[in-house]
Every structure is written in C-alpha cells, then in structure tokens.
C-alpha cells in the first residue's frame, strides 16, 4: 500500500468499477441513442440533407426560432443582469424568497408555464385583453413565443451573473471612485468588463435552451406553418406524418446549429476573459 502511495498513484479503490459503470451507462443511455441521429441522417446523403433543410417550411421555422430565441436571450441578458444586481447589491426585505423564486422556471414543468402564459395572454386573458385593446396581439404570434422563452431563459442569466457579481470586490470600485471616476464611468469601465464573460455565458445558455424549447412554446405559438411554427414543433409534425428521415434531418440541422453557436460564443468568451486578465 505504501509503495503504491509513493508512486503518487491513488490508493483509493473502485476506479475500474466506477469508471467502467460510468462509461457503460453513458454509452447506452446517451451515446448510442444519439449516434442514431448521425446514421439516419447519413442515409439521406449530403444532397438530400441539404434539400430537407432548405425547404421553405424548414427555413422559415429556423428563421423564426432563431429570431425569437435571440430576442428572448437579449431581453433576459438585460433583465437578468438587473435582477442579479438587485439580489446582490440592493438591500430589500424578503430577498431570500425572491432569490428562491428565480429558479421557478427550472422547477415548473414547461407544459404548465405554456398553458398558464397562453391563458394570461389569450385575446380574452387577464393581460391579453388590455393588450388587444391597444392593438397588440400576443398569444399565437411571435411576441407570445418570445414571452414564453423569456420565462424559460431567465434563471440561466441570473444564475451565471449573480456569482460573478458577488465575487466582484468593492475595493476595485472604491479605487475608481476615490480617484474621481463617476458612478457611471466606474460601472462601464470596471463592473461591465468584469461581468462581460458571465453575461455572455448567461446569454448563450438562455439562447441555446430557447432554440430547442418545446413545451412552454407550443401552446402560445399558434403553430401556423411558415408563420408561427418553431423548429421543435416541425420535428414533431414530421414524426406524426411518419417522415422519420425528414424529422431526423431537421433535428441534426438544429443540433449542428446550436453546437456551432455554443462553440462560437465559447471562443468569444475565452477571448474576453483573456483580455480581462491582460488588464
């Protein structure tokens, strides 16, 4: 035992068993099923794959999904930052409860948020009616989809920005302020660059989640082909028509898209954090 220990190898047992179990389970539950996506898509050939993805209905659904996801993620980045600031910096009674409430979208089933939002924003709903009176139709339009995605994405931004803000040492700001910088200059020269990586992460997470979202959106979307049909729903529609190849091609397209976005923003993020360290 001592001899093994001095060789700097762990004396802890169970490595083979636990790693073997981990890899087997990971392979059977995640990797094997996911690989079917690649194989099924490859039966289409490159041309076939391209044809499915560039059909008008699919293109329109991608366009809509990306647009509403982007809008929701941007809105969430702004309000998420504001809420994180509120939770960390502003003293307020009952803040612990508000803090706990932020995770509600993680705990509430998406179908429940979906039917609740639709009831609120339907033309005869509690908020939908007054909005309708001033000429804004929310439910069954892209605005409604965006609202559902805002609900779903909010905790991603708050929960990434909040720890960063807690870590930000007031001494930094104190230094800037005592050297005569105004609050505003201190904010955008010190605080904003410091929070930028976490804001980007939060944005990415909310954005990525929105692209694949289904349950909260499907009720409020209206689901009109070419107009309010999101990509997830189109996949389900194809499946219900027994067009497994079409559904799989769209699913692969969606996965490639979200992985590319994640990769791009990861690169951007490592660039910003490197720049930050260089300061």
């Amino acid at each position: 035992m001592l001899a093994r220990n001095t060789k700097k190898r762990s004396i802890l047992p169970g490595f083979g068993l636990s790693l073997g179990y981990t890899l087997t389970y990971l392979g059977l539950i995640v990797l094997l099923p996911l690989s079917t996506l690649a194989f099924k898509t490859s039966t289409l050939g490159l041309q076939g794959f391209f044809d499915v993805l560039t059909s008008l209905r699919v293109l329109k659904s991608f366009q809509l999904t990306l647009l509403v996801s982007l809008a929701a993620a941007l809105i969430n980045t702004f309000f998420g930052f504001l809420i994180a600031w509120f939770l960390v910096r502003i003293p307020f009674p009952g803040k612990k409860i508000i803090d706990a409430l932020i995770d509600l979208p993680f705990a509430l089933p998406t179908a429940v948020s979906g039917i609740a939002l639709t009831t609120i924003y339907a033309p005869n709903g509690i908020l939908g009616k007054p909005l309708m009176d001033i000429g804004i139709k929310v439910a069954y339009t892209p605005i409604g989809i965006t609202l559902a995605l805002i609900l779903i994405g909010l905790p991603f931004v708050v929960r990434t920005v909040q720890p960063a803000l807690e870590e930000l040492e007031p001494e930094l700001e104190e230094a800037a302020l005592s050297l005569g910088a105004s609050s505003w200059v201190t904010f955008y020269k010190i605080i904003f660059p410091f929070l930028l990586p976490s804001l980007l992460t939060g944005f990415t997470l909310a954005f990525a989640r929105s692209i694949g979202e289904y349950g909260s959106v499907v009720f409020i979307a209206g689901n009109m082909p070419l107009k309010t049909e999101i990509t997830s729903l189109l996949i389900i529609t194809k499946l219900e028509q027994y067009d497994y190849t079409g559904a799989t091609a769209i699913a692969s397209g969606m996965l490639i898209l979200s992985f590319t976005l994640l990769l791009l923003i990861n690169l951007l993020q490592s660039w910003t954090s490197k720049r930050l360290k260089g300061l």
Binding site: G14, F15, R89, L101, P105, F106, G212, Y244
Partner: protein
Amino acid sequence: MDIHPHKNGIQPGIWVNLVIALVCLLFITAFLLLPLFIVFTEAFNEGVLVWLKSVGDEETLAAFKLTLLVSAIAVPLNTVFGLAASWALAKFQFWGRNIIITLIDLPFAVSPVVSGLIYVLLFGLHGWLGPWLDKYDIQIIFAVPGIVLATIFVTFPFVARELIPLMTEQGTEEEQVALTLGATGWQTFWRVTLPNVKWGLIYGVILSNARAMGEFGAVSVVSGHIRGITNTLPLQAEILYNEYYFTAAFAVASLLSFLAVITLILKSLAEWNTQRILRSSK
C-alpha cells in the same frame, strides 16, 4: 464622517436603487408570479369540489401513478450513475477525464424533442432494434419503457454535474486517512465520502426529480398519448387543455405547480445548508 464612503462599491443613490428594485419586482411578478397565480386560480375557479373531481378522475390518477413510477425508476438510476461517475472522475486523475465530463453534460444541450426522437430511431418500429424487438413482442416506444428511457436521458446529468465539482474540491485526503486506518473501500465511501457530499447529492436528486416528473417534450415524442396508459401528468394536462377542459387541465397543472413549489423550498433548504457548512468549515 465615514472615511470609506465607497466601501460597498458604487452606490448609485436611493432613487436609482428604487427604480431598479421596482423594475425587477415588476418583471418577476409578470413572468414568474402571475403564471403561478393563474394556474391556481384557474384550477379552483369552479370550487374545491370540481378540483377534487378533476384530480380524482380515473385517467388523471393513472397519469399521476405513471409519473411517480417513471421518476421512481429514472431518479435512482441516475443517482447511482452520478455517484459512480463522480467517484471515478473526481477522485482520480486520468487522460480523457474532461472529455467524459463534457459528454455527461451532452443531454442538456439536446432539445427535448430530439431527446425523444433518438429513442424512436433506436427502438421504434422502423428503428435499428425495432424489427428484432417486434419479433419478440417487446414494445418500448409508445409504451412505458420508452417514457422511462427518455426521462433518464433528459435527467442524466443532474446528479453527476452537482457531485463532480464538489468531490473534486474535497480531494481524497479524508478517504486516504480512512483507508490507512483500515476501513474497506465501501466503508470509506459510505462513512466518509457520502456524508461529505450529502447536500450536493440531495440538491441534484431534487432537481432531477422535478425534471423527471415535469418533462414534456421528450416524453411527448415517445409516449403515443394512450389515455390511462402512457400519459404522464404533463401530457394529461396538455390533452385536457387541447380539448378545452380548461379547469381540469389547470387542476392537473396545479398538482405539478405544487410539486414545483415544494422543489424550490427543498432546494433552497439544501442550498442554505451547503452555504452554512461551507462557512463553518472556513
């Protein structure tokens, strides 16, 4: 006079703070509180008796049982996996470790609908194993096993990703001491490792349970929506809603929302406990 006027960072003034607080509270009310409020008012708008009748409906009860069954299988399986994975990945250093950690997170990056689709491609009638399963009369898709598998997939990373960073941070010193003093591997695991990660484990289990009971997209693809047989609670809420039984749909939704509120309370308790332990150990 305060010699450190800026010791708490920038203080934009009481009015700015007040505006920020108001905007935040308004936003939280509109997007979080109002939906929750609507679920309960809609569920009870025809009185408690109607609510009870909706909840006690035969199909809804069957959906409730199925939801419990599915999470009772998926959550323990993923918990065992999470413990095994975190033991291997946090207590040992080896090549490829980071790749495995990335792969464990993969289900979070996959859309719920696609999570269901891949199991249809694997076990469906036209899938890889479909013809073989059909020959032996085993049905996975549009049946309970498919729902269980899809649920395992979407809740796969929760426990593992909670435990891996925690165990990595705790290192292996305490385990080494226990082993040197003559404890067996299992004793070390049960009496040293497990108590150390208790709250993180509970946190992961609570989150994966909430997701398991509430999953909609993935389960919707593999379920087949057979009433009383393959409908989980969220699917039952969908069917009732689409058939304009709004009060009944919201009665089902109120059960799920109640569960969500309990989840939030338990989760906060687990978090506060972890923070307390962290503080006292510092």
